[in-house]
């Protein structure tokens, strides 16, 4: 019983960390976007203010059961991914390292790939029940884009699996610790393919076709407000953090302490953000075909590289 209690507390600590970091990143991105656009931009803590405001609102209406389940599905995905992905590398010696182990030993890439789609699909159902056509259009776009970027992403992961004969995230981290080489250097093509897939995964321009503010009025989330939007916002932040940590774990050897974790994830996060700020938006078919072009080719190179070396 005590063990379960401690485990729960540790899981909550991880969640709070992910929430804080994810929200801060969101605010910082808004600030950076503002400065690049030659605006002042909101303060970095704006997202916290927004979240607090949303959470404290009361709701007068609801759209039916599936609408509730949609938000719950989304949160499940974020939390479960966060619990499975190792937040800190197993070799670290900081005093808080044991807090973030959670269920790392079970971290498995194929499981992650599928559980990561669980939330968007549930969210899609919830958006569907509201009856807002913009929501459904956003969902179909999002799913199409997912089919697009999943190809180079899976290719990169398969390349890693071929080289090291494992599907466990923690094994990949151990391999990087033992050999002293980050996998982004051990198989550069896999890293490039994964990063290109990441552009679609984080849905910044030119791949922001799901929300598409000027076309779809933020798409799937458009009928949500108050606590629903809060749930989605925090789930999105946690999920962003979890995905970044997964990238760091797989390609950059993980992080031994929180400072390194923040530095590495932030640097990685800046790739889609900075690329997005200066890009216009693709049409859906352009976006999907983009992923099936060069990223897929590089993914093939990664597999070839893994098979040959």
């Amino acid at each position: 019983m005590e063990y379960i209690l401690i485990k729960t507390l540790e899981a909550m600590a991880t969640f709070i960390l992910a929430f804080l970091v994810g929200m801060t990143y969101g605010g910082v991105v808004r600030k950076i976007t503002g400065r690049v656009h030659n605006r002042l931009g909101p303060p970095w803590y704006q997202n916290f203010i927004d979240a607090f405001k949303l959470f404290s609102k009361t709701r007068g209406i609801h759209h039916g059961a599936m609408h509730f389940l949609g938000a719950a599905f989304l949160m499940v995905t974020s939390v479960v991914s966060l619990m499975i992905i190792p937040v800190l590398a197993p070799g670290g010696h900081a005093w808080y390292n044991s807090w973030f182990t959670n269920m790392n030993f079970n971290g498995d890439l194929i499981f992650l790939l599928y559980i990561m789609t669980f939330g968007p699909l549930g969210m899609a159902m919830g958006a569907g029940q509201t009856g807002n056509p913009n929501s459904s259009i956003g969902v179909t776009r999002g799913l199409s884009q997912m089919v697009g970027f999943e190809i180079p992403w899976v290719m990169a992961l398969v390349a890693l699996m071929i080289s090291y004969k494992t599907t466990s995230v923690i094994d990949f981290m151990n391999i990087q610790r033992e050999t002293g080489t980050w996998l982004m250097f051990a198989n550069p093509f896999a890293f490039i393919a994964a990063v290109l897939a990441m552009l679609g995964m984080f849905r910044y321009s030119p791949f922001d076709i799901v929300g598409a503010p000027t076309e779809l009025a933020s798409g799937p989330v458009s009928e949500n407000g108050g606590k629903f939007l809060f749930t989605m916002m925090s789930s999105g932040s946690v999920f962003t953090f979890a995905k970044l940590v997964l990238y760091v774990d797989l390609f950059m050897g993980g992080a031994n302490n929180l400072v390194m974790l923040v530095v590495k994830t932030f640097l990685l996060y800046m790739i889609p953000v900075l690329y997005g700020i200066v890009s216009p938006r693709y049409r859906t078919e352009q976006a999907v075909r983009w992923f099936w072009g060069w990223p897929t080719f590089i993914g093939l190179l990664a597999i070839l590289y893994a098979v040959m070396f």
Partner: protein, 616 residues
């Protein structure tokens, strides 16, 4: 008389009695139908033991019937799905035409499938195979729609498969002198090399047709969607699995003995992978739920074929797991479509809207089944997909993994299209009268959906029969079982490594669902789907907010170049070419006595002309 013969005879006699009883009164027919299915099925569950063999002397031949662990696994699908679909079929067929013919063919199909599974010799295998094909053919054309196009297509492909199988049987019998399956498998090495390659290919053609492997699949989407939905569950869930059953037999007995076996395996696996990917893309473009599920069935069979063709213990385990699970979730989904057809009269996504609040139980079954279909944990679809990927990576089939991943991800699109098409979106006043389907229809589909959940959490329930089936066909199990080869499972076959995660998924899900539910519904009112804010503007009553037509248009645009290529067109072109040839032949054989007289005279004239050359 022994049990197996008795059960088959009960099915056969019951089919006829049901048909005759239905003439008296519909209720008698319904009752007799249920009794006909459930009584022999119950006898099968209780009375038949694995391994018992019986001989039947008929027509100067000895027919050998018996139940092996492999056929036991498949017969569980046939019998289980048969019972549930029979219960479902009675309210489904209520008030419809040709109920008697439906019951007759349904029972006959179940009997024929059981017959195939218990056959130990090729003669009875072929006879039951033909009964199965004929009964399903009569089901496909039961509603009288598109008989020319759909029925003929199914018939021609079934005939190709049947002739291929017949030819293989005859060659085996003439060379080896036995119709017994065991003899033909054991003496396979005594055949000439040409026959050793010819026979498996002929048999794989026959089984490939039934399991709708590309490029032999063209009959399947139309046939699946044209048959009554209460039968399509059996058609896609069990009948197509007979092809897989045959494929497993051929793969493990014949192909294994061939030096060229690996090449054949690779070709079949690639055909399966291509089937999975291409059929998924076609499913996305469908606007009719029946057609969508039909294409999806073809795609899922592709996964199974990949597993069977790869043929490592883990791949076989995954394939057979998916065989059972696919029967469950696809059975449930076809029942959902049938219920919707029954309650609304149509299955077109573009016509039906927002049934979620009118048919909640149907929706729940559909949701669970779709999650299983998509392969999302913790449902059973995930277990089989996981093992399949693991097997493929171990076997160095990397590109095939990517192909299957692609198919699986693209599968989400049609999954969403299916759910959104029927249950979500705007609620139209046109469908305000729709009520939930009768309990006899809802309960079977719900049971199947829950079954996928149970198998996802306790896969060892299914691993044990699969394991004994695989050991029977000759897989060596180190340590007594095969599932230990997957890192997913512990020694006992329960998902030990994943179990905690599954519980966490459930716990977190329940927590957030309850949280949002209590927070969300307390003191709030439900708003209709018209009462929404689109960008802050309240839509007017007359505004059409329905989004159904061209639902997946962006994606369809993306894959447009691919969709232009259809094997169907080539078959049609081939058929047209044949017709032109026949047309030419008809000019010679005009059927006119005068023409034939001219031929005779011309022939004689030629004889006279060349008499020196011919007769010296």
């Amino acid at each position: 008389m022994d049990m197996i013969t008795l059960i088959l005879l009960l099915f056969l006699g019951g089919a006829i009695v049901t048909w005759l009883g239905g003439k008296l009164s519909p209720i008698v027919g319904d009752m007799l139908f249920l009794v006909t299915i459930i009584v022999p099925a119950g006898m099968f569950f209780t009375g038949v033991t694995v391994g018992e063999v019986t001989h039947l002397h008929a027509l100067g031949l000895t027919l050998t019937w018996g139940l092996s662990p492999l056929s036991y696994l498949f017969s569980m699908i046939v019998v289980g799905l048969g019972i549930l679909l029979a219960i479902y079929a009675v309210p489904f067929m209520k008030g419809k035409q040709k109920t008697g013919a439906f019951y007759f063919n349904f029972t006959l199909s179940v009997m024929a499938m059981l017959g195939i599974l218990v056959s130990k010799d090729w003669v009875s295998f072929f006879i039951f195979w033909e009964i199965m094909t004929w009964s399903s053919y009569l089901m496909v054309i039961l509603n009288g729609k598109d008989v020319q196009r759909v029925g003929i297509k199914y018939f021609i492909f079934s005939a190709i498969g049947a002739y291929a199988m017949l030819m293989a049987m005859v060659v085996m019998n003439s060379q080896l002198g036995s119709f017994l399956m065991a003899d033909t498998f054991n003496n396979f090495q005594h055949l000439t090399v040409g026959n050793q390659i010819l026979i498996p290919i002929l048999l794989l053609t026959a089984f490939g047709v039934k399991s709708a492997m590309m490029p032999l699949h063209v009959w399947a989407p139309d046939a699946y969607s044209n048959a009554p939905m209460a039968y399509t569950g059996l058609f896609s869930g069990a009948l197509s699995k007979m092809g897989i059953y045959g494929m497993v037999l051929v793969m493990v007995t014949m192909i294994n003995q061939l030096p060229e076996g690996t090449l054949i395996r690779d070709i079949i696996a690639w055909m399966g992978g291509f089937t999975a990917a291409a059929a998924t893309l076609w499913a996305i473009t469908q606007d009719d739920g029946k057609k969508l599920l039909a294409w999806s069935s073809v795609g899922q069979m592709g996964y199974i074929i990949v597993g069977v063709a790869i043929g490592t213990p883990l791949a076989m385990l995954a394939a057979l797991f998916l065989v059972v699970v696919h029967a469950m979730f696809k059975g449930s989904l076809f029942m959902v479509v049938g219920a919707i057809e029954k309650q609304t009269g149509t299955t077109d996504f573009r016509e039906i809207n927002g049934l979620i609040r009118k048919m909640p139980w149907t929706f729940i079954s559909a949701l669970i089944s779709v999650i299983a279909l998509a392969g999302i944990p913790p449902l059973a679809g995930f277990v089989s997909k996981w093992m399949l990927y693991e097997a493929l990576i171990q076997n160095n089939n990397y590109i095939l993994v990517i192909l299957l991943f692609f198919a699986s991800t693209a599968g989400f699109l049609y999954c969403y299209k299916f759910l959104h098409g029927y249950f979500l979106g705007q609620e139209e006043p046109e469908w305000a009268h729709v009520k939930e389907a009768p309990a006899a229809m809802v309960i079977p589909m719900l049971l199947l959906a829950i079954g996928t959940f149970v198998l996802g959490t306790f896969p060892q329930l299914l691993f044990k029969p699969i394991d004994s089936a695989l050991q029977y066909v000759g897989y060596d199990a180190t340590g007594g079982h095969l599932w230990g080869q997957s890192i997913l499972f512990s020694e006992w076959g329960d998902i030990v490594t994943l179990q905690p995660i599954l519980y966490v998924v459930l716990a977190v899900f329940v927590f957030f669902a309850l949280f949002l539910w209590f927070k969300g519904t307390k003191g709030t009112r439900y708003v209709s789907t018209k009462d929404i804010s689109t960008s802050g503007e309240l839509p007017k009553e007359w505004e059409n907010l329905t989004f159904k037509v061209n639902f997946m248009q962006p994606f369809e645009r993306t894959i447009e170049p691919f969709l232009k290529r259809q094997i169907d067109k080539y078959y049609t072109a081939f058929g047209n070419g044949l017709e032109a040839l026949f047309e030419f032949t008809r000019r010679i054989y005009t059927g006119n006595g005068q023409t034939y007289a001219i031929y005779a005279i011309l022939f004689l004239a030629l004889l006279l002309l060349f008499r020196v050359n011919l007769f010296g």
